[in-house]
Homo-oligomer: 427 residues x 3
């Protein structure tokens, strides 16, 4: 199997699980993530009622079954067929109701009559079902039996955390949400890409330590932040990963500060590639970057997605299914993450040790010959840029931005120049 | 009557008065302004010869009558018909002259043969008449009788000043010139809008004190500046109002500094509205912003106009008459001024009192419900922006600029957040 | 003769001389330059083997003759016909070789079959000839006699330096390379323009001292920098002049810092004129600006060219001949240099001595009259700009950039204002 096929297979494996912001679906998901990252995922269980920043850990929700039966006794809406049919965090109910009363608890998408919407009712004790408009239109008058066999009770909020230790304890935070049920792009794609990135980083000893969070949205990041406030100072860069499997171009949503190194690293990677992409400014709405970028933390964290949430019709519907995501997109998303990691890992500031005039590259075997290959010319230009800019105030990413030379090539020639004694890392 | 009709009526009342940089026309105009602002206009009379900065208050000019009679004795040019016929500050004369000699004292607009130009001869003792090209072309040879029955003598320079006291003695300066005779747009429109703005502000207790100046152009602002030098430090923001009745889009001419709060407030108001408008950089030519923005004062004062002076053919001609301005434009101009005032009044810097993560808006009744109105979504985004940016370094105008959310909405939700204990004004 | 004809005549006189980075061709060229600048050119001879920064002065190369004779004994490639035929710095050789062996030493331009390329083999002991593709295609099989009667031996590197003393010892550096053989645009045009500029500056006493360098490329600037390191602090502005005779628009390559006064002066001069031009950012490839802008020196030096090197087909070929350059272009290039010099010379920072309000220009005879010429209006605007901006923090070039008024006019009215006691140079 290719990497893409493996990532896709993981998305497919996670797809049927009924996740919400708490409950066994999250636990089952984290078991699979633990396997994928190569083991060592640390799972936290935080009790209901625990104060976390301005919030409180909610009751835990678990579903055993849920359905609506029509006057003839047939289950016309059935949680077993798709967990999207039940409004997330629906309160338990067992009742017989008229069609009119039932209708007040039904959610549809009139514009997409065959799709089922995804709805939640966190922090509001109510019940509801989601169905296609076509089904609802076909329901006859009469008495309907309704069953939500669920528990909404004190328990725990569950999240997973995986650290790849690096040379320093300066950290790169990678965060993805694990609270959505059968939605493939939002966010099984993010979970798959993050898991694989963690496993790949674990195969080497990176410069930074990498902390991967697999958490329920909003309340999960708030809980993690509340419990790790004293360690946030270690975070140098961060990415929220979500919506990485759809066929659209990439979107980088900048951090609150807007021009941090992670913003610049992603901008360089996307800008130098042929991948269609857009850069959007920070706004205080979206995924967990909202919490990381709240003014009391203001972490250098942005968000990498393909098509932005809420801008594609499949978003938060049954159409965000296994047909909506694909192996090629998952691979491409992983590669962008890897390229960004390489920029962060390699972004050092150097000093030209022969800064007066150009050093004579020729006698060091670093200069292209007559009739040299165009590759030689590119390397030579990259060397000249690194030498010219390395006065101790410009990082390699600065050089990449000014020169337009790909970061990877600059890092490569910097190693050659360092080996030739012409360059040293700035103190 | 609508507000626009009232403003237009005021322009019409002021139109026939013969104003210049000194004289009874200014006094008569200020009597009407005093009535319009609701009383309390302070009128200053500064004697001829008073040194004011690099200048000296000139002699006072008053006209009793002026005409040119043709060889048949008919008054072919008559000040009584329009005060534009007499060059402003013409020296007294009574003579019989040939057509050739007369021609040297006549000013026309060859490209607009039916219009009469507006000309002045300040600081140069000479006489002259303005007429239509068509009339001048029809004058037969012969002896012409010329009469300028005017006085140019020691007297006073007159200006009016009206203060609406605010919570602090920090001031907003609003300045308009009152020295042009029968020209409706330039600047009876400015006088009308400024007078009404003063009256409306007087009906409340604003945060800032507002100082309205009704002054002759150039020498008037120089005189006022000379006499108030020790109080200029109070001026926080300022607008010169002129040319606010014509049908063109708005023009904001930036202050010398270019990015002061008044520049940003007007830019936001115009930018968020559908009103056609342009922003132009400061230049040292124009109306009294030239004086306020001279390097020794460098006040944060810009100019609000509709079509810029000297760029419309009616400018400084008899065609800048009561047909050229209209109630709708005057109302719209007043509204822009009011919206700008609201930004200045409401522009405070807040501190998010729950800055770590987002505060839970839901339990405070501040969060939209399922199926909420789009208005609820807009308010919610506005709240998130205010909360996210309120770290004590961003004013609401900063938030408006970054978010694109209208200032008024931000100010509104900031009040809600303050009431909910989530926000406090930064110290 | 016009100036352009004189410049062109100089280019033509220099054209046949066989220059390289060392040797008698450079010496002969400098004799002519000495005559052109009006005498006083200081010629330096630096011995082979002298360490200069990271480099070493190479052996000196001189050619007596060089040719290739075909099997019939005819000289088919002949240095006497054009010095481009011999690869510069070819090692001496006298041999009989087969066509196949000869071919490994021949360089052509297959895409331009009638042109001869210009090639060098510095720092690599080898020999080679350049010829047209058409000629090479016509060579019959057989034995060829090859002769490079040249010396490559210890000697000297030669360069010329000419200083026009100014009021201060702050310097403007003007540098051009003198190491190319029969190439008219690259860089006889630069030599001609620089020589004439030096002569013209010598006819007055400028504010700055002007140092003109006539040096071999790369090794020449490196040698000069190595020998003058302690004097580099005097350099305030600098220009590398090259490629100033071709018919293309102008190109200013910015200094490494990008926004120095010379960058801004050239940008203003080109931007205010109708001359087609482009501004390009610094890159560490090109002519001697590479050395001046190395990080250990980082001098404020940019490069003025017309069409950039390597972007026109004639570049480094026999087609860069006397037909490729013209008197009109040379004149125009000289004029740009002169205009830039005038900006540097006149760029002072003034203080408005009457900074509160506008000073009354009228009573000082500085204000336009009724019916004044449009020239009067321009002068008046220029005066208002100078007065408004002269608060001790804006130079005339700042004023020119903000106002769009040509620098020369600002400098002119500043003199008037200074004479009127309204302006003084800031301390």
């Amino acid at each position: 199997m290719t990497v893409g096929e493996e990532l896709y297979k993981l998305v497919a494996e996670l797809y049927p699980i009924c996740r919400s912001i708490t409950g066994d679906g999250v636990r089952r998901t984290l078991e699979i993530v633990d396997r994928e990252v190569g083991g060592g995922l640390e799972v936290s269980e935080v009790p209901t009622g625990t104060p976390v920043l301005d919030w409180t850990v909610p009751r835990e929700w678990n579903v055993h079954d849920a359905w609506v039966a029509d006057p003839a006794g047939r289950k016309v809406i059935d949680f077993q067929a798709s967990n999207l049919h039940l409004v997330s965090y629906s309160a338990p109910v067992r009742a017989t109701v008229s069609l009119a009363e039932l209708s007040e608890h039904l959610f549809t998408l009139p514009d997409q009559p065959d799709w089922v919407p995804y709805r939640t009712a966190y922090y509001a004790e109510r019940w509801g079902f989601c169905a296609s408009q076509r089904l609802v239109d076909s329901l006859p008058d009469g008495d309907y039996e309704v069953c939500v066999d669920a528990t909404l009770a004190d328990g725990h909020l569950t999240y997973g955390e995986h650290v790849v230790p690096g040379e320093t304890d300066e950290e790169v935070l990678v965060s993805c949400h694990v609270c959505h049920p059968s939605l493939a792009n939002d966010n099984l794609s993010g979970i798959a890409v993050a898991s694989r990135l963690a496993r790949l980083l674990g195969e080497r000893r990176p410069r930074y330590s990498y902390r991967f969070l697999f958490i329920p949205g909003t309340i999960g990041s708030i809980t993690w932040l509340a419990r790790n406030e004293d360690r946030l100072g270690r975070i140098r860069h961060g990415l929220v990963l979500s919506g990485l499997g759809d066929p659209g171009g990439f979107t980088w949503k900048r951090s609150r500060r807007g021009d941090t190194e992670i913003d610049r690293a992603v901008t360089h990677v996307l800008g130098r590639s042929d991948r269609p992409h857009q850069l959007v400014d920070f706004s205080p709405y979206g995924y967990d970057e909202r919490q990381y970028c709240s003014p009391g933390f203001d972490l250098p964290v942005g968000r990498l997605s393909r098509t932005p949430f809420a801008t594609y019709p499949e978003y938060h519907t049954s159409a965000d299914d296994l047909d909506f995501v694909g192996p090629a997109q998952l691979t491409d998303s992983l590669e962008v993450c890897q390229e960004v990691v390489e920029v962060l890992e390699g972004n050092r500031t150097y000093l030209n040790l022969s800064p007066k005039g150009e050093p004579q590259l020729g006698r060091r075997g670093l200069y292209g010959q007559i009739g040299g290959r165009s590759d030689a010319e590119e390397r030579q230009m990259a060397m000249l840029w690194v030498l010219n800019q390395s006065d101790g105030t410009h990082s390699l990413l600065d050089v990449a931005e000014r020169s337009g030379v790909p970061f990877a090539l600059l890092a490569d020639v910097a190693a050659d120049l360092e080996a030739a004694g012409l360059l040293a890392e700035a103190p």
